[in-house]
Symmetry: C2
Subunit: 183 residues, 2 copies
């Protein structure tokens, strides 16, 4: 059950890499198990900022409930964000995340609701020990909404992962970025 | 005290990047906060293996004791390893790590002593939640021992970091790799 280096996920990344001639940086973006914000800053050689598109409390969608190990209809915070390069505002990544409200500590919740702080930085601020479990990765040849959000035509790469703390998934994230992402 | 994205560490990476014309992949190798084994597999597009050069229990060296928050002379496991590409045995990275014996759980200890398992995979096997705190990074123009270990002339890049679990540093690692590391 070694999910971070899950043979299935690595095999899928190898397969995508072969079929779509991915660069090493794409495989890293798909399969790394550290903070995405930190990684984007290192690649882009500058700070990045978060723009929240939408944030609301909703009953947990069926396809997310299993992954978060919560009941369907339990309330979750749904957040859509774009990470942009600070120096020119270029979009680098679009993400949607789900957090069960029942697993949020009050201080953490306040920061999360402030909407402008990346999850990786919140975890770090509260020195939260965690592990990231990559669930799936994929390739998407085109998508009108992503073209608008990322200001870039397809293809795109995506990944889904959980951030697990105290034995339970705290957050489920699905992220998309351009397959022509170069550094 | 946001150490993972410590302004000092990022500033040092930016400075090294400017002075030595580092590639994005070098900045990622220096500053990421995920598993190094996983990262090397993603970059190299193949599995990697660990070769232990030396492993022994020693009194904690003075310069390590502060970083691990243990007393000088407390016993630590000192391990020197090389991570190599499985397909051709090429050395990718040399690392020395220190683990206070008092912080090792028995099962974990047995795996560690087996010598052939990377720390990132041990953490994952036991589903250990942790955070990595980058302490320092640097550049080394030449070094005879590294030239032999990495089968590659200088310059080299290095980084030092702690892996923290249950509020205490479990492991201190110093890693070296070639500054001509390309993927």
């Amino acid at each position: 059950m070694d999910k971070t280096f899950s043979p299935e996920v690595h095999a899928k990344i190898w397969s995508l890499s072969k079929t779509h001639e991915l660069l090493p940086i794409h495989r890293v973006l798909l399969g790394h198990d550290g903070s995405m914000t930190n990684l984007l800053e290192l690649i882009s050689y500058c700070e990045v900022a978060l723009r929240t598109i939408k944030q609301s409390v909703v009953p947990c969608p069926r396809e997310v409930a299993d992954l978060l190990a919560v009941d369907v209809e339990e309330f979750v915070n749904e957040r859509d964000i774009i990470i942009v390069r600070s120096r020119d505002g270029s979009p680098l990544l679009y993400a949607r995340s789900y957090i069960p409200l029942s697993r949020l500590k009050p201080a953490f919740k306040a920061d999360l609701m402030r909407a402008d702080i990346p999850i990786g930085k919140i975890l770090q601020r509260y020195r939260i020990e965690a592990r990231r479990e990559i669930i799936d990765v994929g390739y998407l040849s085109s998508d009108c909404r992503l073209e608008e959000l990322l200001a870039c035509p397809g293809p795109y790469l995506w990944r889904t992962y959980n951030i697990i703390t105290q034995g339970k998934p705290l957050i489920m994230v699905k992220e998309y970025f351009s397959a022509s992402f170069v550094s």
